[in-house]
């Protein structure tokens, strides 16, 4: 029973945030100085085209009305019409979602693969040599522009060593795995750095717990204690860190997509900005925020399911 009220409260909490997201996305188009219609049409401006676009964007009605129209369309699953592609925004985005989904997932998996062993290694001897090296790596990666790292990787591994394609998404499953390895690795280095630190701190803390000491005292080997007692408990806080940084992860994929030209939503966002296709910019911004809220929500539920200590009350 308690579980349902926790779920219900968590859903209720998301509603004002979702309304806020819709308001921010709505007002984006009103930040454009001067006439947004003129800005969007640019060289193709004619009074007739302007009137048509103004009407299709609902800009010819008073502001509160515009928001209501925006919301009504949103609830019907419509994000408007792309000015450049002359297609529904949702359609244009859906056509490009696969490479982006790949990059996010692949990048997350690689981040975990990098972060877990390194985080545990650093925690085994806090302030030891390994810990210091891993810490220095962490500071350096956090200061490193991801797009620059991507370019360096392309230079060494694609151009010089010819191990990976320079750009693109590929056609088959194995193509995707190969084409997206470097972009995903670039995402993983930045995201993994954050995970390494939380993994390290979490493992150190768990190793100092009484149950860990008891397990060691009763004669279990270090390996068994580490696997059975420490790692299982140390994983929980890492899930939270993962959840908190989902927005950061999605943001970094936008840049990486442009470095490697994988043709996903992030690349669409930047090209639409340069083409002044504001309905697309608005749509992607809104969708990414909703995705963050949804993923945060799911990880919170997952956390509650895994950790029996969480009270649902």
């Amino acid at each position: 029973m308690g579980g349902f009220s926790y779920l219900g409260r968590r859903i209720l909490q998301s509603i004002p945030v979702l309304i806020g997201i819709s308001l921010v996305s709505f007002f984006l188009i009103h930040l454009i100085p001067g006439d947004p219609v003129q800005a969007m049409l640019g060289n193709h401006y004619t009074p007739k085209a302007a009137a048509a676009l103004r009407h299709s964007l609902g800009l010819d009605t008073p502001l509160p009305n515009q928001y209501l129209i925006f919301m009504r369309n949103l609830l019907h699953g419509s994000l408007g019409q792309s000015v450049y592609y002359q297609q529904p925004v949702t359609q244009v985005i859906m056509d490009r979602i696969e490479p982006t989904a790949w990059l996010v997932l692949y990048g997350s998996i690689l981040a975990v693969v990098i972060a877990f062993p390194l985080g545990v290694l650093a925690a085994l001897r806090p302030d030891g040599i390994l810990d210091q090296i891993i810490r220095a790596l962490f500071v350096t990666t956090l200061a490193m522009p991801s797009f620059w790292l991507g370019i360096i990787l392309i230079l060494f591994l694609s151009v010089d060593a010819q191990l990976f394609p320079v750009s693109g998404f590929g056609d088959t499953f194995t193509d995707h795995l190969r084409s997206l390895f470097l972009p995903s690795l670039t995402v993983a280095v930045g995201f993994g750095a954050v995970l390494i630190r939380s993994m390290r701190n979490s493992v150190i803390e768990t190793m100092q717990q009484d149950y860990t000491r008891t397990a060691r005292a009763k004669g279990l080997s270090f390996r068994v204690v580490l696997l059975r007692h420490v790692l299982r408990n140390a994983l929980l806080p890492v899930i939270t860190v993962f959840s908190v940084n989902i927005a950061f992860l999605l943001g970094s994929t936008v840049i990486i997509e442009n470095v490697f030209a994988i043709g996903g939503v992030g690349q669409l966002l930047v090209s639409s900005i340069l083409q002044r296709d504001y309905p697309i910019v608005q749509g992607i911004t809104l969708l990414l925020a909703v995705l963050v809220v949804t993923l945060n929500f799911l990880t919170d539920i997952l956390y509650a399911l895994i950790d029996p200590r969480i009270s649902y009350g």
């Binding site: 004002p16 945030v17 806020g20 997201i21 308001l23 921010v24 984006l28 188009i29 930040l31 454009i32 100085p33 500071v139 350096t140 956090l142 200061a143 490193m144 522009p145 991801s146 797009f147 620059w148 370019i151 360096i152 392309i154 230079l155 151009v159 954050v194 630190r197 939380s198 701190n201 860190v241 908190v244 940084n245 927005a247 950061f248 999605l250 943001g251 970094s252 936008v254 840049i255 442009n258 966002l269 930047v270 900005i273 340069l274 002044r276 504001y278 910019v281 608005q282 992607i284 911004t285 990414l288 925020a289 909703v290 963050v292 809220v293 945060n296």
Partner: protein, 294 residues
């Protein structure tokens, strides 16, 4: 803000009663000194760029493109295909990135601190409203929201500032609110309340000095994030516009010629990493100095 990073604020506990701000200061450690020295050197080099290089950063020398580093007259070489002096572009371009790191962060820390103080101190519906607003901003990937705002306002360095100012304050508001909530029930704050100090005076004199160090420490992480953001926007062609120099846009223009002129995209990247490490060191040093017991 690149990372929503609660762990960057160690010792999130306000100090106990009876300690003055001065008595709990720690020692100045080497990371603080080294970090400040690196940053000061770089900043001075960028400010006094005209004294260090005789080339105009946008001046083209089409007869000498892609000269390697240590070429006569060009310490860091020239770029391709324009033959512009890389050292000049690096120093003049650094002005934009460092300005964003300092100017972007300074405004957001002030605004965020005020919002966080008000939310934490008054509580109730004021707090709920302000915190729901920060929730909304946190839902957007920071980079994407800044991109969208710059897209609407038009690509330029100034609009990158505006976008960061509009969005960046939320992290500070959250940090300061949490600290204020923990400080408010302490005896000396209650005492000030009893003797009839005004709300503004209590916030300024009794709460602010106890909560600000967490924000200052976070600001060092945030400054790195803002510089990375400015560079990313420059890289995507949405920040400083060519031919004006900026580290991110230098990397972008160098990318096309990286196979033959690897130094053109590499050098500005090293500059960004150096600034980032300097801010990290300062952050570590400040943590030791402001929160010695954590």
């Amino acid at each position: 803000m690149a990372v929503t990073d609660a762990e960057a604020i160690p010792g999130n506990v306000p100090e106990e009663l009876g300690e003055t701000a001065a008595s709990r200061r720690g020692h100045i450690t080497w990371p603080l000194v080294v970090g400040c020295a690196i940053l000061a050197l770089l900043a001075l080099a960028c400010i006094f760029a005209p004294l260090l290089t005789r080339y105009d950063p946008t001046a083209q020398d089409l007869l000498n493109p892609g000269a390697p580093p240590l070429s006569p007259g060009h310490l860091l070489g020239t770029d391709a295909p324009y033959g512009r002096d890389v050292l000049s572009r690096l120093l003049y371009g650094g002005r934009a990135d460092l300005a964003i790191g300092v100017g972007g962060t300074l405004v957001t820390i002030i605004v965020g601190t005020i919002v966080g103080l008000i939310a934490g101190y008054f509580g109730g519906w004021v707090d709920s409203l302000l915190m729901r607003i920060t929730d909304v901003f946190f839902a957007f990937p920071f980079l994407v929201l800044v991109l969208a705002i710059v897209a609407a306002l038009g690509p330029s360095l100034f609009n990158v500032f505006v976008a960061i100012w509009l969005v960046g304050w939320v992290s500070y508001a959250r940090i300061i609110r949490g600290q204020t909530l923990a400080t408010k029930p302490l005896d000396y704050v209650q005492a000030a309340n009893v003797i009839g100090s005004s709300h503004a005076s209590i916030m300024r004199r009794h709460i602010l000095p106890n909560v600000i160090s967490a924000a200052i420490i976070f600001a060092m992480v945030d400054a790195i994030g803002n510089i990375l953001l400015a560079a990313a926007l420059g890289y995507l062609g949405l920040g400083v516009q060519e031919p004006a120099p900026e580290w991110g846009s230098m990397i972008a223009s160098g990318q096309n010629y990286m196979v033959t002129q690897w130094w053109v995209p590499t050098i500005p990247g090293i500059a960004i990493v150096t600034v980032g490490i300097a801010f990290s060191l300062i952050g570590d040093g400040l943590t030791a100095y402001l929160r010695p017991r954590s």
